[in-house]
Point group: C2
Chain length 228, copies 2
């Protein structure tokens, strides 16, 4: 076993929620035991990688047998903060912000919405998912009162950096950014950016590549009526 205090690879961390999800599905189906091969398949990774990932936290399996599902759920769950109901604030209550907070799956059960902020007077004061939207100038006030541990930014690009700076100054260390821009934050603050346009462009890259490959040799015809 490897010392749990050593640095967990970021790539491993990013896979843990996937493992947990796969385990939950198994548990729901009444499965109480899995081999690394089965769980890896459910999570879409190689079995050796799964075992390596788990080994960073300790030995939870039984040789010749596999893993007890409840044991792994508990272990991984602890690491990704399950059962804590982390308080979350959302800044920017436009289409996307509203969709996210209405997305029941998202906040159940490990996260709870505690504050909503927007700068549109039309929106301020309205209640969404049981939370009343406050004005942008109340942001620091709201953080002091509601103590969110995670802030989701769903503002336009123009506002995102300022919001990020202000929430970090107010003591928040974790930011999930949906604005398509690079945010800078001091060391020790975790910022993750989800850029939907970027995802589409990555797919487009591969699509463009497929066409280019066909131009040379034609390996497999993808879409029957190929390029329309």
């Amino acid at each position: 076993m490897i010392n749990p205090a050593d640095q967990i690879p970021e790539a491993t961390i990013a896979r843990l929620p996937g493992y947990l999800r796969a385990l939950m599905e198994l548990a729901e189906r009444g499965v109480t035991r899995v081999s690394s091969t089965e769980l890896a398949k459910a999570a879409g990774v190689q079995s050796a990688l799964l075992r390596r990932d788990l080994s960073h936290f300790g030995s939870y399996g039984t040789r010749g047998v596999g893993y007890e599902v409840p044991v792994l759920v508990k272990e991984i769950g602890e690491h990704v903060g399950s059962g804590n109901s982390w308080p979350v604030m959302v800044v920017g209550v436009g289409n996307l912000g509203r969709a996210l907070v209405s997305h029941s799956e998202l906040f159940d059960p490990d996260f709870r919405l505690v504050a909503l902020v927007d700068n549109d007077p039309q929106v301020v004061g309205s209640t969404i998912a049981g939370v009343t939207v406050v004005a942008a100038d109340q942001l620091e006030q709201e953080i002091a009162t509601r103590h969110p541990r995670i802030v989701i930014i769903t503002t336009p690009v123009a506002a995102a950096q300022e919001v990020c700076t202000r929430v970090v100054d107010a003591g928040v260390n974790s930011v999930l950014n949906f604005a398509p821009t690079t945010l800078s934050a001091p060391d020790g603050v975790t910022v993750r950016t989800v850029d939907l346009g970027q995802e589409l462009h990555i797919l487009a890259f591969h699509e463009a590549r497929r066409v280019a490959v066909q131009a040379g040799a034609a390996p497999v015809m993808p879409a029957q009526e190929k390029s329309q």
Copy 2:
């Protein structure tokens, strides 16, 4: 210069859209020339990494000077499929699906929504963003008619794999999945999954870690107003 035909690292591909975005911003501000250092900073990467990434495609810079912004915009744009207006279909018109198609920034200008599919009779027939929602059993029909190159899945988990299989069978090679589940698809098909709950759990992992670290020594207190 490295042969453009050799394999572009996936990590490089994932950064290209970010470079393009940074370049657009510069272009808008009237900047016509950048050094790798400046552009790298705008995109949030190291300058050597930017240069290495670009070198996979060829030499577009001038030693001692830097890069011409329009040249790079064109080059990178070509690779990520800018100016093609890729046709996109969205399956699942719930909160999230609706928010995505209403998110004007997302589809401008390199992607265009060509089809919407849902299985809710309440929703089928309605028009969103200029596109009429068709029933789930029309999915193959709609693909044959509208020729989407990319399909966005915003259905519940239970439906996601079936949708994925059907769209791939109908000839689609690129899928952007928002359902929190692992999708399997044949080789040659690109599937990217954006899992919002997973993102929150990754942040929670780091939050939990910060607390654990403090248990030993107490470096910085997270969620109160210390550093205003």
